[in-house]
Subunit: 271 residues, 2 copies
């Protein structure tokens, strides 16, 4: 069974896609073809979306499903004329919230999705630049890091740092353990003042070897034996210094990042 999903939004469509994906994964006997229709912020665009959805309906014969985050009810009504099953993300919340808060909502198109202020934008850009310039462990001052990821090469430090920076505005540095650190079983002295902000990443040796093979085929660096040794030493080091550690093998970047923030008690938010 196949069904077509449209994520329709007056903004980027990220909210619609996030929630739609979460719900659709609960129906794993169905295959979904998914399409984004973002920036539906006027009647002309709503009508264009309606035509597109109705065409998909005619072509497949199966009723499309719309995950809808348009705030303006008038525009949602136009999209509903497509005959699709409408799943309104915000509508069920508005009534209960208005009752609870004792105030009416003040609808503003786009406000929910983007158009943020400079301060927040700048915090994220600055955090991203910070992650980029605190990525190699060389000549780095860790004093103003919110978190310092520690681990062997290719364990996932850089993408995780960038994600935390871009999403949460967290200043995330990383320190790649060197062969010397691993042999001595000691962290470099300049990390010690920041022990409470250190967080270790590890991974299954087979997986690490696979990732490294893709990068430097046939190298000692990519040998399973080498990977196993490095990870074993790193784990000893994390245990001895009581550094919290997370295995990234079966985990998405979002989940790794979210767990780190939860464990270190960093309450920065996406917005």
């Amino acid at each position: 069974m196949r069904r077509t999903i449209f994520y329709v939004s007056d903004g980027t469509g990220i909210t619609a896609e996030t929630i739609g994906h979460s719900v659709l994964t609960q129906f794993d006997s169905v295959e979904f073809d998914t399409y984004r229709i973002p920036f539906v912020d006027g009647e002309d665009k709503a009508r264009a979306a309606t035509v597109r959805i109705r065409t998909a309906y005619a072509q497949s014969g199966a009723r499309p499903i719309v995950v809808n985050t348009i705030m303006d009810q008038k525009l949602s009504d136009i999209v509903a004329e497509s005959g699709a099953l409408m799943l309104d993300v915000f509508a069920p919340f508005i009534g209960p919230l208005e009752a609870e808060l004792g105030t009416m909502r003040s609808p503003r198109v786009g406000k929910a999705h983007g158009l943020t202020d400079f301060t927040e934008y700048e915090a994220r850009i600055n955090a991203t630049n910070y992650a980029l310039s605190h990525d190699d462990g060389i000549d780095v001052n860790y004093g103003d890091a919110d978190v310092i990821l520690v681990g062997v090469s290719r364990v996932g430090k850089t993408p995780t740092c960038l994600y935390m920076a871009l999403h949460y505005g967290v200043r995330a540095a990383n320190y790649p353990l060197t062969e010397e650190d691993l042999e001595r079983l000691e962290l470099p002295r300049r990390l010690l003042p920041y022990r409470s902000r250190l967080y270790g990443l590890t991974i299954e040796p087979q997986r690490l070897a696979q990732v490294r093979q893709a990068r430097r085929p046939g190298s000692r660096y990519a040998e399973l034996k080498q990977c196993r040794w490095e990870l074993g030493q790193a784990d000893k080091l994390f245990r001895r210094d009581a550094i919290p550690v997370q295995n990234t093998t079966h985990t998405s970047i979002e989940e790794i990042a979210s767990k780190i923030l939860a464990e270190l008690g960093i309450e920065k938010h996406m917005f």
Copy 2:
């Protein structure tokens, strides 16, 4: 008026936070204190969350609001005992979808939020590494780029590339326009074969000067006059070569990225 919001989830809490934020921005007369309670995937954790929420209730006197993305109804019921206003994100969708698809959902905790397969994880990591290694315009092969961002220094190319890579697995390169390009009003020859994948970024001169001042105070590079000249030349170049262009001054990274993908017709998805 202040109210406390808890984003409660059996996964990362990103879905709860995304949708909660969207709805709460509609109530701008209220101040919200927001907290994440992620990874509530067992009864003990649900009870711990309940205690925390109930404590907040007792301290503030105002009923807390829970934006809930726990899939397991039994765990949600435990959290509801806190007395908070429960806003269930998924619950309103499940019934209509089961009816529409003619099948029951197959609930799996965590499935909706993280724990993705290697292929998708790898696509995003590879795209991130691609963005990192195609960032400076020097000695870069643009052949396998999905999109190439073009613009003057500090216009937002790097964060946008990284966001597209991390979120959508899109291979995004960037080309920083040099003073020579701007004087000659010509793109470098090696970009020309990929004209359909070029996308320009621009920004208001005052804003650019401000960003550059923070980076290199007092430099010619940061002077308003210099910024104005560079942006003017870049805009001429974009117009002449019919390169689509977006002004990033008042736009969030999500929105910039989403618009680029929509305009270039790139249908990659987050999941």
